[in-house]
């Protein structure tokens, strides 16, 4: 479990500004390839072609929100086990519990700190993969 290397992250957010700054922040992690997109539907297509090890989903997106995207991923045999982290500006305790019950491995609160985001993701990955 611990030998699984984080190589590819897919970040999904309908805000182009946030996509860009997150892309830059995650580049600081080093040998990790980052792709961003703006909708749940694009995320499902990229899950096929990009094969991310980790998917970060904004919760509130038009049409297909984060929980709906997670549900669709979980129904797909090849994507069902990809760890998903929710990103949300509404990270109260009740919502956090709900997101974990939906199957997210963790939740990152907005506003994001670009200088700390990489470390947050590394910690989540380590916790998910035993080190």
């Amino acid at each position: 479990m611990s030998d699984v290397v984080l190589e590819r992250i897919l970040y999904v957010d309908d805000e182009p500004d946030i996509q860009e700054i997150v892309g830059m922040a995650l580049e600081l992690m080093g040998d990790v390839e980052i792709k961003t997109c703006g909708s749940g539907r694009e995320a499902l297509a990229l899950a096929d072609s990009f094969r991310p090890n980790l998917i970060m989903l904004d919760v509130m997106m038009p049409e297909m929100d984060g929980p709906a995207t997670l549900d669709a991923l979980r129904r797909h045999p090849e994507h069902a086990s990809i760890p998903v982290v929710f990103v949300t500006a509404k990270a109260n305790t009740r919502e956090l519990q709900r997101f974990i019950e939906l199957g997210a491995v963790d939740v990152i609160a907005k506003p994001l700190d670009p200088m700390k985001l990489g470390d947050q993701v590394k910690k989540i990955w380590a916790a998910t993969h035993g080190g």
């Binding site: 500004d17 860009e20 830059m24 500006a89």
Partner: protein, 117 residues
């Protein structure tokens, strides 16, 4: 060092674009403000307003504009309260939302150059 400068420049450029976008959103928020009251929170204006303040809530803090993020979050919570509706607190929520919007617009108006962290 060059990479560091480049990163700083990219961050500053993104923050400038955020400020431009926030100003555009403020114009739309100001347009929606009377519509929300006119429609008693039952029309599309409240939905659009909620989407705009949600966007600002999530993005402003990431670019270092924490006060705008907090102000937008307060407006977002009030929009959610109005959308949930159905109780006696709704009439006062309109006044609270109007006040929150006024405060948010003032904060956006003050946005200038990218802040230093």
């Amino acid at each position: 060092m060059a990479d560091e400068l480049s990163r700083e420049e990219r961050l500053a450029s993104m923050a400038r674009r955020f400020v431009d976008r926030a100003r555009d959103q403020a114009v739309r928020i100001a347009e929606l403000r009377p519509q929300v009251n006119h429609e008693h929170g039952k029309g599309e204006a409240l939905l659009e307003l909620r989407q705009l303040v949600h966007s600002l809530h999530g993005s402003a803090g990431t670019f270092g504009y924490g006060e705008v993020s907090i102000g937008a979050g307060e407006a977002e919570d009030l929009c959610d309260g109005l959308m949930a509706g159905g109780d006696s607190s709704v009439p006062s929520l309109f006044g609270d939302l109007d006040h929150a919007i006024e405060k948010l617009l003032a904060l956006i108006k003050q946005l200038d150059a990218p802040p230093t962290k």
